[in-house]
């Protein structure tokens, strides 16, 4: 039902009833808007918190492999393949010296829906093992991402809770052997414990391809190592989290340092050179991520165009806020703007329904009575 059709329906009401209609719509609109806004703000906040919890676990893995002394394995990047529109493994670790790529999948829960998680893990592994789907050669991709020839690819399924028996039962059903990483988070430190899950006891599978990796995990990571909150977002974090994080950092570290506008080069310097959010992302991926940030930011009125050069990467943009110092208020304002944008469609639809409802009720009442001046609720 479009706005026009509602209007033509309103036209059919008597003048008195039209007045009543407008009054009722006005009252209801305000109420409805408040309600939708609160609900959407709550949704935005919850999603951001969930994203942050997931990142916290990514950070355990990054902490274990960010160029530590006793291993050749290092953290390479989040979400390899994502730039190729392939939702695949969460984290890429690897030893360039040995030519081994290690793909790690993180699952929020392995206790529930174990088969589904193991099945998904298997599918993703098969995608890499069977040389992709035609338009992407995973081996070639990984070699490029690691800057080294890849001789072997290894995998791990990780979670904070790793129920061994359930996983074994699932391995049997899904016909797969795999390595599990149990992630421990102790605030300032973290641990990774590794064990293998086999579809049957007689399987020759004995864990990771490289014994040295297993030793490192056993000797170093099973005890506790330092943990930090390295990642603030990844490619597939929600738009809410990405917009919030990027905007706050751009405001604090760019605008407040005397820069009126930012361009792609500034964004890239902050997130990919001065910090570690986009380590080993390709230029192409970074540009696409930036475009998505600008598009969504503009839709939410958090980012505004200041200098139009006819090219998104060259254009000058600004974080649209008068709040520069008070980080809490800035963060709140961004979340509120997101909520206002996100609620729009739902709210408009609900409002249309309300309007029709009011018209309907007014039509039903034969003549104007006192009750038309009182809200039926």
């Amino acid at each position: 039902m479009t706005e026009d059709r509602i209007e033509s329906k309103v036209e059919t009401l008597t003048a008195d009833k039209r007045d009543t209609y407008h009054r009722r719509v006005e009252d209801r609109e305000e109420e409805l808007e408040k309600e939708f806004f609160q609900n959407h703000l709550e949704k935005v906040r919850t999603q951001i918190r969930k994203d942050e919890e997931e990142l916290n676990n990514f950070n355990v893995i990054v902490s274990g492999f960010k160029g530590r002394d006793n291993t050749e394995y290092t953290y390479i990047r989040t979400e390899p393949f994502i730039g190729q529109n392939k939702k695949n493994f969460d984290i890429l670790i690897g030893s360039r010296e040995k030519g081994i790529a290690l793909l790690v999948e993180y699952e929020r829960s392995l206790a529930q829906g174990t088969d589904k998680s193991v099945g998904k893990f298997k599918e993703r592994r098969e995608f890499v093992e069977t040389d992709g789907d035609g338009d992407l050669d995973p081996g070639e991709y990984l070699s490029k991402a690691m800057g080294a020839e890849i001789k072997d690819v290894d995998y791990a399924l990780s979670s904070q809770h790793t129920p061994k028996e359930r996983l074994e039962a699932s391995a049997k059903r899904k016909d797969i052997n795999f390595c599990v990483w149990d992630l421990g988070d102790f605030g300032v430190s973290c641990s990774i414990i590794c064990f293998s899950v086999k579809k049957s006891e007689t399987e020759p599978f004995s864990g990771h391809v490289d014994d040295e990796l297993e030793e490192y995990i056993f000797d170093e990571l099973a005890g506790r190592v330092r943990k930090h909150d390295y990642l603030d977002f990844t490619w597939s974090s929600s738009n809410y989290l990405k917009l919030k994080e990027m905007s706050v950092v751009l405001m604090k570290r760019h605008h407040n340092k005397g820069n009126e506008i930012f361009r792609y080069a500034d964004w890239n310097r902050l997130f990919a050179e001065q910090d570690i959010q986009l380590t080993n992302y390709t230029q192409e991926e970074k540009k696409r991520l930036y475009s998505k940030f600008i598009d969504y930011g503009r839709t939410c009125n958090v980012v505004v165009l200041e200098e139009d050069e006819g090219d998104l990467l060259e254009n000058g943009y600004k974080i649209n806020s008068q709040i520069t110092r008070d980080t809490e208020k800035l963060k709140e304002q961004i979340q509120e703007k997101i909520a206002r944008h996100e609620m729009r469609e739902d709210f408009e639809e609900a409002l249309r329904d309300e309007k029709l409802d009011i018209i309907e009720k007014l039509h039903q009442s034969k003549k104007t009575t006192l009750s038309d001046f009182i809200d039926p609720d």
Partner: protein
């Protein structure tokens, strides 16, 4: 003509001499030395100063000139920026007043990232005091004090748990400070001394040294320089802290050098709210604390709302790690460490041995 605070000297020794005669001729004038710490190159710092002052090269130092108006009176401010040879720390010499400094230099320091007033932690301040008192004839004549840390219950303390601050002057100030430290758990933030042959001077834990009369050379060599050297290692450690990306043949790797701190009177999970609210009082806003249950006390990013720095803090209440983020300045780290010492636990220590 109004007495000018301008100095003509072109070497440090000449400047100290000139300042000494100025003190001698006008006993309302004090000689001030303010120590700073900076992570800018010397040239970079001088360029930054140009944004706040008229800067002229004057031999071994730079003259920084500006004026400000207070109570309908225009005050001309002449500061002399000198680089301490041994530590590289920027030093300001001036005959202007503390108020003049507040109106001019302090604004630049507060608003400039990677520039901070040199801070003497309580232990270093105490050591400096003891060393000075070794000098024959030198006496402590007074002090300002504060209570640092959360409620501490040292054995033998009188009515523990009260916040105490104030100022004390007496002939037996040295003993009073000792006794009050033990009995009331206070920490001195400003010390006043007298040395009959060399003059009267005072200094604060912010490294502002003031000589009312006496030898400018003595102040510089026996008070300022030892303070600079005492505070140097802490600042070097903070400046070395880093999180960045190194590139090798197109492959990027994380480089990090965190600051590791031990809180000797550990925080409990119940202290979490107080910890974050105290933090906010000092303009540190926890903007993305990653929530998790259990023993975890705090893990997240903090925005320094004074200079727009962003730092990572993670702690279980006992061990605490700091990392500068998005190329933020070391001054946010020093300030955060200072917050820990002054508001959380005065015995907080930086671990110099890396894990």
């Amino acid at each position: 003509m109004v007495a000018s605070n301008e100095l003509d000297a072109s070497t440090r020794d000449e400047l100290l001499d000139e300042a000494r005669s100025a003190l001698h001729t006008d006993n309302r004038t004090n000689f001030r030395v303010v120590c700073l710490v900076s992570d800018h190159s010397w040239k970079g710092l001088v360029d930054l100063a140009r944004g706040w002052f008229d800067v002229t090269d004057q031999g071994e130092f730079y003259q920084l000139y500006t004026k400000h108006t207070k109570r309908n009176q225009t005050n001309h401010v002449f500061l002399y920026l000198y680089q301490h040879p041994a530590t590289g720390a920027p030093i300001i010499f001036t005959l202007n007043s503390s108020e003049d400094l507040n109106e001019t230099l302090d604004r630049m320091v507060t608003n400039t990232e990677d520039l901070y007033s040199l801070w003497l932690p309580p232990d270093e301040m105490g050591e400096l005091r003891e060393n000075l008192l070794e000098i024959t004839g030198l006496e402590l004549t007074g002090f300002d004090y504060d209570t640092f840390g959360r409620d501490q219950h040292y054995e033998g303390q009188v009515r523990p748990g009260f916040q105490r601050s104030g100022s004390h002057d007496s002939k037996d100030a040295e003993h009073m400070l000792e006794e009050w430290t033990v009995q009331y758990g206070i920490t001195a933030t400003r010390l006043r001394f007298k040395l009959a042959t060399r003059g009267t001077f005072r200094f604060s834990n912010d490294c502002e040294f003031v000589l009312e009369n006496g030898s400018t050379e003595f102040l510089y060599e026996d008070v300022v320089e030892p303070a600079l050297e005492a505070a140097h290692p802490l600042n070097e450690l903070m400046k070395a802290a880093d999180l960045s990306v190194s590139k090798e043949n197109g492959f990027e790797q994380i480089e990090e050098e965190p600051v590791e701190i031990t809180i000797s009177d550990p925080l409990d999970y119940e202290d979490r709210n107080e910890f974050t609210s105290e933090m906010q009082k000092e303009d540190f806003y926890p903007y993305s604390a990653q929530a998790s249950e259990g023993s975890l006390l705090f893990n997240g990013k903090i925005a320094d709302e004074r200079n727009d720095g962003i730092i990572s803090v993670s702690t279980n209440g006992e061990d605490l790690m700091l990392l500068p983020r998005y190329d933020s300045g070391f001054d946010s780290l020093v300030r955060f460490y200072r917050f820990l010492v002054e508001k959380v636990d005065p015995d907080t220590e930086i671990d110099t041995v890396k894990v």
